[in-house]
């Protein structure tokens, strides 16, 4: 069939009609009998009816499917409005009034009557209701207000009243929502509850609410009609009586059939004030009252009850408390169990405010005789958490983000009509509920808490994407050197490094020994290090600083969120040289340790270097600033000086001390990419400290040993030697050497403090631990090699000294 576009009003109206005709309750086929009756009620000539049936395709199919039915209805409307029957006109005609059906019998039926009865019998309910049931006083008949005064209770009738004012007044029963018999208990309940205040429901043509409102008004009226509820025996046969009502209540007849059993319905509706109906008719059928909708009064009552159990409106009511509470309603446990199943939306064993209201509402309904639906009606669904309010949905259970989309509520028991009605009005009605819910959910503290957690304390260290820092020791060294430089003395122009010069300087200063005074000369290295000062460095620097600052300085801002600094360090390759430079920064050390140095680079031609440096060292013994040679020379010297050669801590200290001096070397190393070795060598030492740094330090110390009392001479690695050679260019090496020892000492001292920042990032720590271990093994190996070399060097040295001695006498001679 051609696609049919229906407006909302039409949609609802047709749906109701379909339900009405769906006597078999198959939801698919409208029984021909009913349909034909309906068509006849449209008061169209039979030929037209035949034509319509042909057009809609029913004759083809042999039955009225939903689409066929809708098309037929539309055609009826077209015909009724006098337009020629054309298929094309289905979609082209705009603002087509709803098809009107003169319902003589059961149309308005009980709906209205029921409503009335409802109101009448309201008294019954209260009686039956336990304290639990709040019969909203407003609901009582007393509200018989004039239609005009009827406030729209549930925004059921979203439909513009304009939709079909005319047909309504004219057609007694606009909506064949007949199925009064089929109307679910919900209707009944609806009535009950709304009977009072709800009556105000706009007289939507189809909306039961309309009926109710009518009722209200009519209450004053005869209402008597048929035995209102009290009779509770709405003779379904009493269509006549109903008919009369319809006459009175022109439109309102649309009240969706009330329960067949809803005896009540039958009578009441009748008298629905026609006047009221007229007004209400404005509403349109589409706005079906949602029988499950919670009115404001009810809601308020529920909320109050909730408060008695759980003062915090955003909290939960535990299952046991809820059980006691609802047991008071004296409903059978089985039903309470079912209610619980329906209302505990997130299945967490506790009720949120929304869930509680839904459960309460169901209890009230049940007590009033409504059958429980199989599924939770949409209007009772807990509102979704307003995701906009918070980044995450802390609200664990509740409001499970349940989209407000009209869920197909198809309670097997209740007729489809109400569900249909619910679907539409749901969207409108629920809005308020949803809004309320969202408010509630959004206000949950958890949301805010969560947010606060997320926000990093230190923007700098905030989720800084851990920039992978090249592990090349050179860079790291450079960084360190930079830091030290800046820290110690001048603010090195290298901007990147100087990102936090003050901090660095502070950090650097901490370890007393970290005096890079001599490092000044190493400015060259720093300048070269500028190149290193890539974005990463400053970033890492920042990170480390943030991490370090709290530790060593305790002057800087509060410790940044633990994880922050770690990322930079936890990375195996990232060497937070900053820390090491800070020397005192134990954290740095830890960080550094976390930094796993790449596997030790195979020692470069150490022998050459070592020998050279040694000689150079000798020669330059006086000329300390012998650069690399000196350094190397010094290293051997240092070596013997270092009794605790294998003392890793010393290495670290050494490294620390070396840092300053090694900075220049580092530069070279980094350039040469030899830093790797250095780090490796120092690895074992510095599991805590930045390996690279240690290496550098060591190397630098070695290099700069020249005469300097490099604390730990042993070239951690051949690389160191190389570094030393590079250091040859650095005159200040010697000085560094001295400082290195100091640094090393300081480093050692600071070591203990390392672990602190790691606490946070366990994973990072573990990873870094792993890396460190690996580095350790590598470095241990290197260490042994280096020691071997050291011994060789010592031998050489001794031999050289001997030679010197031998030479001297000659010279003197």
């Amino acid at each position: 069939m051609e696609s049919l576009t229906l407006s909302d009003v039409e949609q609802k109206y047709y749906s109701d009609l379909f339900v009405y005709c769906d006597t078999d309750n198959t939801k698919k086929v409208a029984s021909n009998g009913r349909v034909l009756d309906l068509f006849r009620a449209a008061q169209l000539p039979s030929e037209v009816v035949l034509q319509i049936t042909e057009l809609c395709g029913a004759t083809r199919l042999g039955h009225f499917g939903r689409s066929q039915f809708y098309i037929a209805l539309k055609l009826i409307a077209i015909a009724q409005s006098g337009l020629p029957l054309r298929v094309e006109s289905l979609n082209s005609v705009k603002d087509l009034p709803l098809p009107r059906f003169v319902v003589g019998k059961n149309e308005a039926e009980a709906r209205h009557a029921a409503l009335y009865q409802d109101t009448d019998s309201q008294g019954l309910y209260p009686a039956s209701a336990t304290a639990v049931i709040p019969r909203p006083p407003g609901r009582t008949h007393q509200n018989k207000k004039s239609t005009s005064a009827l406030p729209v209770h549930e925004a059921i009738q979203p439909l513009a009243p304009s939709i079909e004012p005319q047909p309504e007044p004219t057609s007694p029963v606009v909506s064949p929502h007949q199925s009064p018999p089929t109307s679910p208990h919900s209707w009944r309940k609806h009535k009950r509850q709304h009977s009072g205040g709800n009556v105000e429901r706009q007289p939507v043509v189809a909306a039961p609410s309309a009926v109710w409102t009518h009722f209200r008004e009519t209450q004053t009226g005869p209402a008597s009609a048929d035995g209102m509820w009290s009779s509770h025996s709405p003779p379904p046969s009493g269509p006549e009586s109903w008919v009369s009502f319809t006459a009175d209540t022109p439109p309102s007849s649309t009240v969706p059939a009330m329960h067949p059993s809803s005896v009540q319905e039958s009578t009441t509706i009748r008298t629905v004030a026609s006047a009221a109906t007229t007004n209400e008719i404005q509403r349109q059928t589409s706005a079906y009252d949602d029988p499950w909708k919670i009115t404001d009064e009810q809601r308020q009552y529920y909320v109050n009850q909730f408060k008695t159990i759980q003062p915090d409106l955003t909290g939960f009511i535990p299952g046991s408390a809820a059980k006691e509470f609802f047991t008071k309603s004296k409903l059978p446990i089985l039903e309470l169990s079912h209610i619980w199943e329906l209302s505990d939306f997130d299945k967490d064993g506790a009720l949120t405010l929304d869930e509680f209201c839904a459960a309460f509402h169901l209890v009230v309904a049940r007590k009033n005789g409504y059958d429980l639906p199989e599924k939770l009606p949409e209007s009772l669904m807990p509102k979704l958490i307003d995701l906009d309010d918070s980044a995450e949905v802390p609200e664990p259970p509740a409001d499970a983000v349940y989209s407000a989309s009209p869920v197909e509520v198809t309670p097997s028991k209740s007729p489809s009509m109400p569900s249909l009605n619910q679907a539409w009005p749901e969207m409108n009605q629920s809005n308020e509920q949803w809004e309320t819910f969202s408010e509630r959910s959004s206000s949950s503290q958890t949301l805010t808490q969560f947010d606060s957690n997320i926000a990093p304390a230190d923007p700098d260290t905030a989720i800084v994407h851990p920039v992978p820092i090249r592990m090349t020791p050179s860079k790291i060294h450079m960084q360190e050197m930079e830091l030290k430089r800046t820290g110690s003395e001048h603010n090195h122009p290298t901007s990147p490094l100087l990102t936090k010069p003050p901090e660095l300087s502070e950090d650097a200063k901490l370890p007393a020994s970290m005096k890079f005074v001599a490092a000044n000369t190493a400015g060259d290295g720093y300048s070269s290090s500028d190149s290193f000062t890539s974005d990463q460095e400053p970033i890492t620097r920042q990170r480390s600083q943030s991490g370090t600052s709290p530790e060593p300085l305790k002057v800087v801002a509060p410790p940044p969120p633990p994880p922050r600094p770690h990322p930079s360090h936890s990375r195996s390759s990232s060497l937070d040289m900053n820390r090491t430079f800070a020397a005192s920064s134990a954290t740095g050390q830890t960080q550094q340790s976390a930094i796993a140095y790449p596997p030790a680079v195979p020692p470069r031609p150490l022998p050459t270097q070592t020998s050279v440096p040694l000689t150079g060292h000798r020669v330059d013994a006086e000329a300390v600033p012998g650069g690399g040679a000196v350094l190397t020379a010094t290293s051997p010297q240092q070596i013997p000086q270092q009794p605790n050669f294998a003392d890793f801590s010393q290495f670290q200290a050494f490294a620390a001390s070396e840092q300053p001096s090694s900075l220049p070397e580092v530069d070279k190393h980094s350039e040469g990419g030899q830093v790797d070795k250095a780090p490796e060598g120092a690895g074992p030492l510095r599991t805590v400290k930045s390996d690279g740094q240690a290496d550098e330090r060591v190397s630098t110390t070695v290099n700069s040993v020249k005469g300097s009392s490099g604390p730990i001479a042993p070239p951690p690695k051949p690389v160191r030697r190389r570094l030393k050679s590079e250091d040859e260019l650095r005159p200040e090496d010697e000085q560094h050497g001295l400082q290195k020892s100091n640094v090393i000492a300081a480093v050692l001292a600071t070591q203990p403090s390392i672990p602190r920042s790691l606490g946070k990032d366990k994973k990072a720590i573990q990873a870094s631990i792993r890396r460190n271990k690996e580095t350790n093994t590598v470095l241990a190996r290197l260490n042994s090699e280096l020691q071997q070399q050291l011994k060789d060097l010592l031998e050489e040295r001794i031999s050289l000294e001997v030679q010197l001695e031998q030479l001297r006498p000659f010279s003197h001679l």
Binding site: G319, A322, S337, E341, K347, G349
Partner: protein, 139 residues
Amino acid sequence: MAVCIAVIAKENYPLYIRSVPTQNELKFHYTVHTSLDVVEEKISAVGKSLGDQRELYLGLLYPTEDYKVYGYVTNSKVKFVIVVDSSNTSLRDNEIRSMFRKLHNSFTDVMCNPFHNPGDPIQSKAFDGIVSGMMTQTG
């Protein structure tokens, strides 16, 4: 397609048993009852050795010419038994597992209901719905 689904309590009395009504229900009751022995045997065999790390899904308990019986036991010794028709295209193990998982989940939901007393027969409509779904569709 499962022809019979049963939930047995810890004390080995049925909390819920439902069969496709076409067959002789009593026969399934008997089958489930006999399967309990197999379940017990599996529990005791594995339980002690592995401690409490016992697999919940017990797998095929025993096949007969007409059907197969699968078992699943929770940590609280509540047993689920599914009887499937052998004539069906043999359901994959995964499907059976997913069936048990669904059963377990809905059973948990039932238990969460404060109005349900553990040990009472399960009268939850939601649970019934799940079970019906499993019995009508394939597995």
